[in-house]
Amino acid sequence: MTARDSLSPGLSLSKRRARSAMWFLTPMLAALFFVAAWPLLRTIYFSFTDTTLTNLYTGKWVGFDNYLSFRQLSSGRVIWRGTLADMSWWNAVWNTVRFTALSVSIEAVLGIGVALVLHKEFVGRGLVRAAILIPWAIPTIVSARMWGWMLNDQFGIINDILLNVGLISAPIAWTASTETAMTAVLIVDVWKTTPFMALLCLAGLQMIPKDIYEAAKIDGVHPLKVFFKITLPLMRPALMVAIIFRALDALRVFDLVYVLTPNSKATKTMSVIARENLIDFDKFSYGAAQSTLLFAIIAVFVAAYVWIGRVDLGGGSK
């Protein structure tokens, strides 16, 4: 009998390792079940009941009533109820989708731009990289308040600059007016998260071997063509991952909208309206239905993105 056999007879080394791996994983998986899976299941359950905030345990099963139900009046008129017949919900869906599409595409373009600049060698590059980390480091709530002040209609510096340059003739109530509220939110979001996009793109750029560029230079290929035929395709994997991270953040956006443009119909997102119903309006189960829908939308989006874009999220884990 060798020493190894005496430790746990009949098991090979790799089996033994796999068994201890299980023990190492259990606490982490238990914690995740406790704070993620269980609450999610409860939210979904609540969405099929008439639970209220004050009485969490007396809710009755109501089926799909929180999602969609109808009742026929004696006059023959049909009344639809539930989130799916709620105009304010669809308004929030539209706001979220619009916000996500616009912010992520602007950030992708600007992020690539900034990454290209930072990829060049120049004096003070380290300082510039430090500077772009500042918006990223500032808490979202703080940036919402800072920009809320800068975008103030009467005393804001943005209006002052635009008036001085002559781009506008009268001050704009950026955050209060329904026409500009979304623009205000977009400005702050782009300012805050372009650095993240830029850093991920930069990491992608740095993985492209330099000799490809030298070959292109020798062949006299136009820089624009180099960008579209070499740089962009080669940094695509990094870009795709950056875009999905950002898109998921944008789809669940809450804090920025809640603080910068409180109660504005033009910016209220799915997360904002769901929390409003859950906590503020005491329509707990109705809010749970909206949360569940948001979760479903995000799940479908991720699946579609990974499938269509063939993004390798688990890259290297094989």
């Binding site: 796999a18 201890s20 791996a21 299980m22 190492f24 994983l25 606490p27 982490m28 914690a31 995740l32 406790f34 704070v35 993620a36 609450p39 999610l40 409860r42 939210t43 609540f46 060049k120 510039v128 500077a131 772009i132 980390l133 500042i134 480091a137 500032i138 808490p139 979202t140 703080v142 308040r145 800072m146 005393f155 804001g156 510096i157 002052d160 300012w191 850093l199 990491a203 994997p237 990094a238 991952v241 789809l251 669940r252 809450f254 804090d255 603080v259 799915m270 997360s271 929390r275 859950l278 809010g287 949360s291 948001l294 979760f295 995000i298 991720v302 688990g314 890259g315 884990s317 094989k318």
Partner: protein, 277 residues
């Protein structure tokens, strides 16, 4: 030729300058504003005009605000420590041991980190009420685990996977048990990665808003972001902008210093989750 190059260099310089100004200006403007009081607040100045510390004195003498800083430090530290503790062993198993379903498990963990927080809000609310920790720091410590833990596991796993097989082999041959391998072989090598992930997880816990807003009810239990969001005057027209900016500067300066100090590590950590993963 040289003239063309000069124009090109100048254009590049302009772009760089624009990037720096746009990045830094809002914070610079917040600092200028924080030193202003009274009517001077309502004059737009591009350069510092006064150095009045009144706003800072008001912020730092407010008991609730100081308390909220203390709350945030406590919550973020405990959350990060807890996540690290669970993540080190878990990512060893995920990175170094082959077993069936490993990639599925990794993808699930990544999926949890992308969870929309609102989807678990109702369930967490019930759980927190059930455990009797509503309106205490534990409510946040518990709920923040949903994003700090998957993130830490993910980054540490990518880091450990890149370490060569040989470092473990000697220990295995010597008959070391897995926990000994983690404690004596990997932990010393992991320090840089632990600092990076710890810092990033700390920042995300420090900045969290939705859970902190929902799971606290009294002013003494607020975290910093909620306290700042709730700073307001008696009416819409009396928003105390100077005080808000001073509070913002107070909680942001340490963060910015940390980020600049650990710049390289942070960039490496941010991209490890994205590009390599």
């Amino acid at each position: 030729m040289t003239r063309k190059n000069l124009a090109k260099d100048f254009g590049f310089f302009l772009i760089v300058a624009l990037i720096v100004i746009v990045s830094v200006f809002p914070f610079y403007y917040a600092i200028i504003t924080s030193f202003k009081t009274g009517t001077s607040l309502f004059e737009v100045d591009y350069f510092p005009t006064s150095l009045d510390l009144a706003n800072y004195i008001e912020v730092l003498s407010s008991q609730n605000f100081v308390r909220s800083i203390f709350n945030s430090v406590l919550i973020a530290s405990v959350t990060v420590a807890f996540a690290m503790f669970l993540a080190v062993t878990a990512s060893y198993a995920l990175a170094r041991v082959r077993f069936r379903g490993r990639s599925t498990l990794l993808l699930t963990i990544l999926g949890v980190s992308m969870f929309p927080q609102i989807a678990v809000l109702a369930g967490l609310f019930e759980l927190i009420r059930f455990m009797g920790v509503f309106n205490t720091p534990w409510a946040m410590i518990l709920s923040y685990t949903i994003f700090t833990l998957p993130f830490t596991v993910w980054v540490l796993t990518t880091f450990m996977r890149d370490l060569p097989m040989e470092i473990e082999e000697a220990a295995i041959v010597d008959g070391a048990k897995p926990w000994q391998i983690i404690a004596f072989v990997f932990l010393p090598l992991l320090w840089p990665a632990l600092v990076t992930t710890g810092l990033l997880a700390f920042i995300s816990a420090w900045n969290e808003f939705l859970f902190a807003l929902t799971f606290t009810a009294s002013d003494t239990q607020r975290t910093v972001p909620v306290a700042i969001a709730m700073l307001s005057g008696s009416s819409e027209f009396e928003t105390p902008w100077g005080v808000i900016m001073a509070a913002s500067v107070v909680v942001t300066v340490p963060l910015i210093l940390l980020v600049l100090l650990f710049q390289r590590k942070i960039v490496a950590g941010l991209t490890a989750g994205g590009v390599k993963g």
